[in-house]
Symmetry: C2
Subunit: 345 residues, 2 copies
Amino acid sequence: MSLRSEIHQQPETLRALLDAGWADVERAAAAIRAREIDYIYLAARGTSEHAGIYGQYVLGAFNGLPVALAAPSLFGVYHRPPRLGRALVVGVSQSGQSPDIVGVLDEANRQGALTLSITNDPGSPLAQAAAISLDIRAGSERAVAATKTYSAQLLTFAMLSVALAGDADRRADLGRLPAAVAAALQIEDDVARAAAGLREMGHCVVLGRGYHFATALEWSLKLKELTYVVAERYSTAEFQHGPIALVEPGFPVLAVAPRDAGADDTRALLARLSGERGATVLALSDDEATLAAATVGLRLPGGLPAWLAPIISIAPAQLFCYHLALARGFDPDAPRGLSKVTRTQ
Amino acid sequence: MSLRSEIHQQPETLRALLDAGWADVERAAAAIRAREIDYIYLAARGTSEHAGIYGQYVLGAFNGLPVALAAPSLFGVYHRPPRLGRALVVGVSQSGQSPDIVGVLDEANRQGALTLSITNDPGSPLAQAAAISLDIRAGSERAVAATKTYSAQLLTFAMLSVALAGDADRRADLGRLPAAVAAALQIEDDVARAAAGLREMGHCVVLGRGYHFATALEWSLKLKELTYVVAERYSTAEFQHGPIALVEPGFPVLAVAPRDAGADDTRALLARLSGERGATVLALSDDEATLAAATVGLRLPGGLPAWLAPIISIAPAQLFCYHLALARGFDPDAPRGLSKVTRTQ
């Protein structure tokens, strides 16, 4: 039962980070402000990379910082690292163990760049390599599939964005997250029913744009890890530049589509997919018209601004994967061929 | 017949660009060197984004330039663009038409950043928006699926990297590309046989790392566009952080694995996938041991350095998609639901 219980621990994990984490985040923000940072160079893998992609949108939108996702092979394979002098170099890893991510920070230190780690283990090699280390304080995560450490990574990026901007209104919004995540977890029965309805799917595509792209990526990865569904992932914009050719009648499309600036375009795309293309569209949304445009709608709690939606929307997506694994006869606590820590060069 | 004939035109297209394109590329390099550029911010979609990812590795490895892939929704959807003052902002698009890519360059111009376009139409909105415009000179592309414009985009990035570094040895290597691509196209019969052998596949994963990641991405997209196979794409490193759970006996794995610094790790992974996991591994390589580790090997011409392999390896990958479409009973010259120009905001 460790996976499901860790999914349900998330309101409490987020509350603990909000209670204990601000001092570290404020110190990190002060150290970053003291340097002339031009952009962020971010190294991460898997779930941690998806948290970094959330950071890309939030730090871009609210702090004006462009975020480059690292190409670790330039460091560990080709030994031809780029110049990072004016970057803030960030490594994100639950375990803090992967040699390729640590290698990016080591090189950044050699070049004199400012380095920051975001991990769940302050004693890990990644945390030790970084000039500034942020502990996501998620406690021990026993399930192989990361859930509460992902939402704690997202919240860490959100807190860092707020601290860098010194924005009191956005800081107040963060305090409302634990209750919103608890509300999102309460639709578990609806989620389990939706999963049962799709238990025969062999493949699907997961869509989301802007802030919600991170949820689409992470939902897709959890589907692969726990249910072995070949789950493609695209931003709604990118999807229209070719991959949309995949959609035939009955093709499953999972969409993360909360109220947001881009919601009209997303809703129009989903209506086209479920209408003229005959796709089976499952939508996570707090918007009535979007829920109505889908074949099956799963209602998210509303009321928080769109930039925080990813910390909420991932919870029912995780539950969906958990219940789909059960419906397909798999043990979500023992996914095949995976271990908790993956070391790549 | 336009798709197949455009695939086979590539040696000639590359030769034409090498013959006529250097003056423009040298001018662009001089303009870039005249500015204090910290990093590249690159906006592109679909096939053009894959060319940009090749640029990320080549410009990182040989020119020390970090490359950030743009998040266009920060511009056109959220209207909260990041600060781009010290970036070279690059837009890549075959048609030069997509409003979201043009929007990124417009904003970069407003901020005073240097802008560069890489398109097949010097009169297009994207070329008009850029301070420096590089014409890929691929001629009219009639097939919906981009092939010769992709390899011409790759070559443009390779030429730009050489011009920025002023590297005579690498420039000489570029001159050998057209013949190498012609040699790669000569394995068409083997490619068609391999495609026929996989004609029943509904899904697969395409792997490649470093320079070869771009080929994996583009091969995967062409599979989706032309054959409607749900083709996941990962770097070999990223694949091991979760998605490897998908692989069960008979799961098709397509790998781009030429001789390179990371080739030992890639070969070991492919041997594990085809061995203990029982996957069906199709490998594109010029390395005997890698071809032997695969279930089916497709031999690439050797002799050119690894950083140029993507301009060669994409040709048999395109032919594979063409022949797989035919083997599955589809018309590769009329892919469903696609048009040549896609406009997203």
